[in-house]
Structures are given as structure tokens and as C-alpha cells.
Amino acid sequence: MITSREGLLEQHAWAALRISGADQTAWSGEIVEAGEGILGLAHWDGTLHLDRACILEPLRDLYDRGGEPRTDAELIRYREALVTLLHEQSHFLGPVGASQEAARAAFKLPGSRALEEGVAELWAHDHLNDYIHELGIEKVAPGITEVRSEPSYAAFVPAVRLFTADLDRQAGAPAGETLHLLNRQTAEGQWHQAVARIYDSSRLPHLAPPDQSPAIRLQLEQALRSSFRGLELYEPFPRGFATSRSHAAGTRLLTSLHQELTTAECRYTPTPRPTRINLNPPALPAPPGPISQATVPPASRPAQVSTPADSPHSALHHALAGVTPPATRPPAARLPAAPATPPRTIPSATAAGTARETGTGSR
């Protein structure tokens, strides 16, 4: 059991690793007391910078008064310190082989910062009680899981929540899965993972040629990055305004995303060719009695239906498969005169109507 702030700081990164399911952390093990107004910062060199007044002192107080009853305001102060700790640790999480150099390069690309900060903040809030439980903090500060604190990054969090929830729905995945998966990635892999999930949840893998997949994914990624970059505009504004603008922007970007996917799916959906029926006039008078299709010589098989095998018109194709050849028609005297014109090609719907009108399909 952890009994001091020092013990907590020793264990906190491993608890983040455990609850996230990430493969590795880039934290160097060093904590630096932050200056210059910084509350918390996961530095690219692997050091963790934490503010004394808002993070380190509340965490000391948490253990100095271990087990004592606290006010809600005190419990919220602890939660805010812990959620910042978890948020910063989530920046260090990554898959096997991830490097801070690659993450640092990717963080500079449009839309990377908004996604990474939004994911880290939202995930840290959603999993804070798991983190508290993992570190055994409920025993030190009874009631800490009963109070709530509000997320920061109001410009990013609502859009990220909408975005990741939509990806869960499209993938048929449990709520929170996309957020959890993205949180395990560094900036290098986050957009790649998000776009892969979007692409794989669409019909595009079945429609688009494999060599077109990278270009489609790139187009989706660029559009999404641009939308997320736009969220930065709301950062200087009050939380309420930033939250509502982020939510509206998230809704818009999802509308655009779905339109983009629909357009791409249509682009690669095969256009069904019209069904054609070639009607040849009967060469001979009909023999008495019904005969099977197989016994009719090819030259006297006037009705040939051609339809793409897997087209939406296949049902019509099957419906027309039972059309009796004209050779089985009643004697010619009871039929309209055979057309003197060459074989006609008519659209399927007309063909079906013609077949009915001539009585060839109703016997």
C-alpha cells in the first residue's frame, strides 16, 4: 500500500500503464518541479514537469492526512491533481517501438495536438476512478470517487468525445473502445489508427481496389486533421463558449466525414448495367405440347436475358428465368404477327411488360 506522496510518484506511471493496456511508457522516471506557470507537462525528453501549488502540494496533503475525512472541495482538489498526473502520463504511453522523436515530429502536424490533448484529457477523466482504485487512494481519501471535477481543454474534449463515440458506433465496438485505443498511441499513430478504424468500418474495403486504399485514407485524414486544427481557435475563450463551439464543430466534422465516405463508396460501387433481353422472332411454328428449354435448338431460343451476376437486378433476372420460350406459344393464328423487324433490344422493365403482354410469361 502506498503511504506517501513519494510512493505515489514512484508508482503512478506503472498504474497508468496497467489501466491503459499500453505497451510502454516513455517517462524517464524523473519529475521536475515546473516553473513559468506550467501546471503539468510531459516533456519530449521523458521528464514530467508538475506545478508545486496545484499538483505536488495537494498530493502531499493527500497522504499527510491519510484516512481523515475531507471536504468535497479538498477531494476535488486531489482529483484535479491526480487527473493532471494521469493526463500527462497518457502522453508518454505508446505501442512497442514508439519513439519520442517520431511522436514529437508528428505532434507538429495539423490536428495532432487537438486530437492528442483531447484524447488524453477525456480518457484521463473517464478512467480516473480506475486509476484511484489501482493506486489504493480510496483508503487514503474516503469519498474521492464520489466527487466530480470538470475536464479542461474545453476546445477539444467535446469534439473528441463525439468523434470517438461515432467511431465506436460505426465499428460496432463497445463505448469508449476507440478512445482507449487512441490513448495507447503517440501522435505518430493516433490519426493513422483513427482513419484505419473509419475505413475498415465502411464498405470501402469491399468496394475500392486495394491500391486505392492509401489515397482514400490520406484524403480522409487530411480532411479530419484540418477540422481538428480548426478547434484551436476556441482555446482562448471561456469554457462554456469553447465547449459549445467544439461540440458544434464535432457535429459538423462528422457530417462531412459521413458525406465523404458516402461519396467514396458511391465512386467505387459498380454501376449496374441495364438488363437486356434479345427477342428473336420464332423461326418455326410451335411444336405441339410443351417442350423443355434444353430441347430447344439454340437458334430458336429467342429470349436471352443477360444480367451482371451480382447486380441488384439479379432478382429480376431470376424472375425472368422461367419465361417460356416463344416456341411453346399457342398456334400462330392466336398470336399477333411476328415482327418483321430485326431482333429488338429493350430495357428490362419494358421487356418484362412485353413478356406479360404477349402471354409468354404467364403460363
Binding site: 501546471l39 507537462l41 514529437r104 505532434f107 490533448e117 481543454y153
Partner: protein
């Protein structure tokens, strides 16, 4: 296309602006929201350094 130097300079201006706004806030939640956005921009500024 904005150069890295220009982007770094713009990021520093944004950090300073967010810090000023945070200092002027009475609501601690507003202050935290602005300060943490500034922290994120510090992370970006460090990434932009050669």
C-alpha cells in the same frame, strides 16, 4: 506556407496570451482550462525547436 520559425514565434505569442487570460481569471476552472492549453502550446513550442 508558414515557416517553422514563424510558427514558433506565433506559438509563443499564443502562450503569452493564454497566460495573461489565465492570470486575469477569478474562476479557478477557467484558469486551469487556459493554463493547461498554454502548457500544451509549450509542448508544441518545444517540439518546434530545432
Amino acid at each position: 506556407m508558414e515557416s517553422t520559425e514563424d510558427r514558433y514565434a506565433r506559438t509563443q505569442l499564443l502562450i503569452a496570451d493564454l497566460r495573461r487570460r489565465a492570470e486575469a481569471c477569478e474562476d479557478p476552472r477557467e484558469q486551469a482550462n487556459l493554463s493547461r492549453s498554454a502548457d500544451s502550446l509549450v509542448r508544441l513550442a518545444v517540439a518546434l525547436q530545432p
